[in-house]
Amino acid sequence: MSGSHFDHQHPEAAAGADGAVASSPMYAAPAGAKLAVAVALITVTMLLPPSQSRWLIVVAGILLFAMVFSLVSPWFVAKRLLMLAPFMLCVVLGAALQPGSALDWRIVAAKSSLCLVTVILLANTTPFGAILRVLEKMGVPALLITTMALMNRYLFVLADEMVRMRRARTSRTFVRSRGFTWTVLATVAARLFERAAERADRIYAAMCARGWR
């Protein structure tokens, strides 16, 4: 496999609009090292016994250090964390309102957020294609890698296509009822699947023309 389709980058990532800053020192670091450090950090965080929880501060320090060097804005990380953690926040809130032994839950919440921050930083300093290449070297089957590479390439294309189709549908629809809403949602999803399948045929033709397999 040539791997040329690995090098796709999402426009917003390349522009550094939100999280990723392509000129940062962390962005330039090799993907394999970053992935290994991230997995090691998560494993250490998870395995830390509750009695040793003060070491979590060290993990947090490492992450803070990494955040400074990746030039990812702390607001971006905080926003992502809030978006991802409603389940965790409920747990923390429940523990805070509960009198008595709330300590354990604070540790679980801290560990969980540290792991989330680790992945958020990894994802925003490493192009996904580079991660895929590392995974391929580690022996992940080629079919799975191809599937993920194509998914990464077309994820925002299809997501945008769906937004456009829904907007078009809304602008042409004058009836509003609950049952009809469901039908419209499903029809849009079905059309999206058909368009994805047609696109897959074109991609296959293009891949063959470029000497795939």
């Binding site: 917003e12 997995v39 965080t45 998870m46 991802l84 389940f87 965790m88 747990v91 429940g94 523990a95 309102l97 008595g100 032994s101 709330a102 354990d104 839950w105 679980v108 919440a109 560990k111 969980s112 792991c115 992945v119 958020i120 994802a123 996904f128 991660i131 089957p141 079919l143 799975l144 191809t146 599937t147 993920m148 194509l150 998914m151 077309y154 994820l155 925002f156 294309v157 299809l158 997501a159 769906m162 937004v163 469901w182 949602l185 499903a186 029809t187 999803a189 079905a190 059309r191 999206l192 699947f193 058909e194 994805a196 399948a197 696109r199 897959a200 045929d201 991609i203 296959y204 891949m207």
Partner: protein, 328 residues
């Protein structure tokens, strides 16, 4: 940019399951995915290989569709059953595994060490359950109506069975007590499953009407091989679920009870969660909570199957009328 990050009750984050659960689920997920990859390589023509990647991107986009559920909450498609029926169970496992890995590494949705558990629940259990149920209903009820009813019921079953796996993993890790996790997770997913089944059936019907060639034929073609595959998956999924659920099937000593009372928080949470679907699993005359949940689950399944039948009747009669009006 469309909203791409979404959190729900089924993606387990890091820190909520312990090492033994993560390793066991990871091993099961690796075996299942490896088996699916082998089967796809053997059976799928090369022409269809890009379709797997596009189907994964499609599923990712389709998961952004939120549907309203009772009580002001909303759920979104898991998609295991739908993709398994559209493309076949092995391709479904590969697609779901790709979606979950990308969601985990690119969007931090679902934990890295919990990836195995998430792939097992939503990739293998949901996909296999969905395909198996759809196939069984199709055998009993041939024709378009059977396919639609089967898809609706399969969507519901896949969500519920996957949530049982999720609850068992949380309980096995000692995070949440089984008596609390099972009714809460299953109760919520019995509601979410209705949306899952309805939207899956509507999507399948829409695809069958316009591009039936895209849907995996459910005729005799390639039956022998895929049947063997289904049996193997069934064994793997059942073995894994049994492994996770077995410790709780027998009356459990007070170990987990004490954990639950020590943690304390979940009583509050479940009291809240129990409020909505309570009539479903407080079946009078049954004392054990686990048994009550099982009975309620069975009643729920019958109700869901009834709803699926009514839905298919309603939808397919409409289709027949439409076709009669159509010159073709």
């Amino acid at each position: 940019m469309p909203r791409v990050v979404d959190s729900d009750t089924m993606h387990i984050p890091d820190g909520f399951i312990d090492t033994k659960t993560a390793l066991t689920a990871g091993a099961l997920a690796a075996v299942g995915t490896g088996f699916a990859l082998r089967q796809v390589r053997r059976e799928l023509p090369p022409r269809r290989v890009p379709l797997l990647g596009l189907a994964a991107a499609f599923l990712f986009a389709a998961q952004m569709i939120n549907f309203p559920i009772a009580g002001g909450t909303s759920g979104h498609l898991i998609g295991g059953a739908l993709v398994a029926v559209l493309l076949g169970p092995a391709a479904g496992v590969v697609v779901l595994a790709s979606v979950l890995i990308v969601q985990c590494l690119l969007f931090a949705d679902g934990g890295v060490l919990a990836l195995g558990a998430n792939i097992f629940n939503m990739g293998i259990v949901a996909t296999f359950t969905g395909y198996g149920v759809a196939r069984l209903v199709g055998l009993v009820m041939p024709g378009l109506r059977g396919r639609v009813a089967g898809m609706a019921f399969a969507g519901w079953c896949s969500a519920v069975v996957a949530s049982v796996g999720c609850a068992a993993q949380l309980a096995w890790s000692g995070t949440v007590a089984w008596e609390v996790a099972l009714p809460a997770m299953v109760g919520v997913h019995m509601l979410i499953g209705i949306g899952e089944g309805l939207i899956s059936a509507l999507v399948l019907l829409a695809v069958l009407r316009t591009r039936p060639d895209l849907v995996l034929a459910d005729g005799p073609e390639g039956k022998g091989e895929s049947l063997r595959g289904i049996v193997a998956y069934g064994l793997l999924a059942a073995l894994g679920l049994a492994l996770f659920v077995a410790p709780f099937a027998c009356p459990w000593p007070d170990g987990l009870e004490s954990v639950a009372s020590k943690l304390g928080f979940e009583h509050r949470e479940t009291a809240h969660l129990l409020a909505a679907p309570a009539p479903n699993y407080l079946v009078p005359g049954i004392t054990s909570r686990g048994l009550a949940t099982a009975v309620a689950g069975a009643i729920g399944a019958v109700v869901a199957f009834g709803l699926a039948l009514i839905l298919s009747r309603f939808l397919v009669r409409g289709a027949a009328r439409g076709e009669a009006a159509d010159p073709i």
